[in-house]
Symmetry: C2
Subunit: 240 residues, 2 copies
DNA sequence: ACCTGAACACCGTTCAAGT
DNA sequence: ACCTGAACACCGTTCAAGT
C-alpha cells in the first residue's frame, strides 16, 4: 500500500539520469496527494514514498511539514487569476474577484480548510491576489476605512461559503439525495411544537431551493455596500 | 510533563470513593485541554493522562477521537443563548443571533476551526441554535427560499469573521503591534508601482481602522437584505 | 460492566553517518 | 551538497485479558 513509485535509492548525490529533488517537485507531489486523497493523507513519510525518496530528504528543501502546507497554500494562490477590469463598474469587478476566489477554493476542496485558516502563509500570496478587489472598491469612491472593511466582508463571505460547500459535500449535508430528508429526520426526533419557523420554511422548499447560492450572497453584499456607502461613504465617482 | 493529576490506577470497577468515568467528565476535560493548550494538544493519550485513566478507558464512553471532537462541538453549541425576541424587529433579532454565535466562537477560539468545519456534528446542535434566526427572517416576511439563503448568508459571515479573528490572533496578523507594519514590510519587498490601490488605502489608515468590524458587516448584510427583499421578496408584514 | 496493558501500524523530526 | 537510516518520542485503535 505504499505507492508503485520506486524502490530504495542509495545515499549520495542523485545519479546523472534522474531528476533531482526540488521544492517544486515536492509541492507538486504534495498537491496531487492532497487533491486526490485529502489532507489527512499528506504525511512526510507518505510524500517521500510518492517521490521515491527517503523521508528525510524532503527536509533539505523544506524545513518541515508546516512549510509544505504553507507552500501548498502559496502555490494555489499563485494560480488565481482575476479577470481584468476592462471598463466594468466596481460592482462587476467585485463579483469577478469573489468568483475567482471561490473558483480557487472549488479547484482544491481538500485544501480549503488550510487556505482559510493559514492566514500567515496566505498573507503574501493573498496580497497579490487581492489588489483587484481593492482597486474595485477604491474606484467605487469608498473612503479607505470602508474599503478595508468591505474587502474583509467579501473575503469573509467567500470563506464562509467555501467552508459550507466543502464540508457539505464531504460530510453528508449537501449530499445528492436529501438535505431536506436529513432535516425532516431531525425534526421527527423532536416535539411537534419545536422549531416552528424552521419546519415552516423547510416544509415549503424543494430540494433544489436548499442549495446554497453564491450569487445571492453577492447581490446582498453589493446592495448593502451601495446603501451603507450613502451613510458613511461620501461616494464621489463612477456612475457606472 | 504529563499532568500532575494522578498515578496509575488498577483495573476493574472504580472503587467506591472515586467518581466513575463518564462522557460528561471526558468532554469537560477535553474542552479544558483545548481551551488552554489548543486543538493539537488533544490526544486520546493526553486526555486520559489528564483524567488519571488508561487511554483505552475512554473508548468505553466515546467510540473514538472523532466522537470526542464532535462531542465538544455539540457541547459548546448547547451553551449558546440567543436573547429572546421580545418585541424587537427582525433586524435586531438577526443581530442578536449573529452576535450570540460570534460570542460562542470568541469563547472557544481553539475550537473555531472544528466548529466551522464539522457541520455533521454541528447539524443537530446548530438546529436548536438556529431557530431564532429563522424566526426573525420568517417574521420579516421573506419567502421560504429567501429565508434559507439569508440564514446561510448570516452564518457564513459569522464563520468567515470568526476564522479571520481566530487565525489573526494566533498567527501574527491582528497582533498588537502592527498589522500596518506587516503590510508595509510586504510592500517594501515589491516594486514601487505594484499594488497601487492597497498602498493608497493602507497608507491612509490608522492601526485602529485596520481592526475587523463585526457590526459593519451586519449593517451591510441587513441593508442588502432589505434591498433584495424588495426585488424578489414580496414583503408582507411587520412594519417595525 | 468497566477498566487495563501490550501490541500494531503509523506519525514528525533530530542526529550522525554515508557518498 | 545532498541524501540516508536508525532512533526518539509521540500518535489512534484493536484485541485479549484482568477484576
Amino acid at each position: 500500500l505504499g505507492g508503485e513509485k520506486a524502490g530504495r535509492r542509495r545515499a549520495g548525490r542523485p545519479r546523472a539520469g534522474q531528476e533531482p529533488l526540488t521544492r517544486g517537485r515536492i509541492l507538486e507531489a504534495a498537491l496531487k496527494l492532497v487533491d486526490q486523497e485529502g489532507i489527512a493523507a499528506l504525511s512526510m513519510r507518505r510524500l517521500a514514498a510518492e517521490l521515491g525518496v527517503d523521508p528525510m530528504s524532503i527536509y533539505h528543501h523544506l524545513p518541515g511539514k508546516q512549510a509544505v502546507l504553507s507552500g501548498l497554500v502559496k502555490s494555489v494562490f499563485a494560480e488565481m487569476r482575476v479577470p481584468s477590469a476592462g471598463d466594468k463598474g466596481w460592482q462587476d469587478r467585485v463579483r469577478d474577484f469573489a468568483r475567482a476566489y471561490r473558483d480557487l477554493a472549488r479547484a482544491h476542496p481538500n485544501l480549503v480548510l488550510q487556505i482559510v485558516s493559514d492566514t500567515a502563509a496566505a498573507a503574501e500570496a493573498a496580497l497579490e491576489a487581492s489588489e483587484p478587489l481593492y482597486q474595485a472598491l477604491d474606484a467605487a469612491g469608498f473612503p479607505p476605512h470602508m474599503v478595508v472593511r468591505a474587502a474583509d466582508l467579501v473575503v469573509d463571505h467567500v470563506h464562509g461559503f467555501a467552508l459550507a460547500w466543502v464540508t457539505g459535500f464531504s460530510g453528508r449535508f449537501n449530499d445528492q439525495p436529501g438535505m431536506l430528508e436529513t432535516f425532516e429526520a431531525l425534526f421527527e426526533r423532536h416535539p411537534d411544537d419545536s422549531f416552528p419557523a424552521m419546519r415552516r420554511v423547510f416544509g415549503a422548499l424543494t430540494e433544489e431551493e436548499m442549495h446554497p447560492d453564491f450569487e445571492f450572497g453577492l447581490d446582498v453584499l453589493l446592495a448593502g455596500l451601495r446603501d451603507v456607502a450613502g451613510d458613511h461613504g461620501e461616494r464621489t465617482s463612477n456612475p457606472r
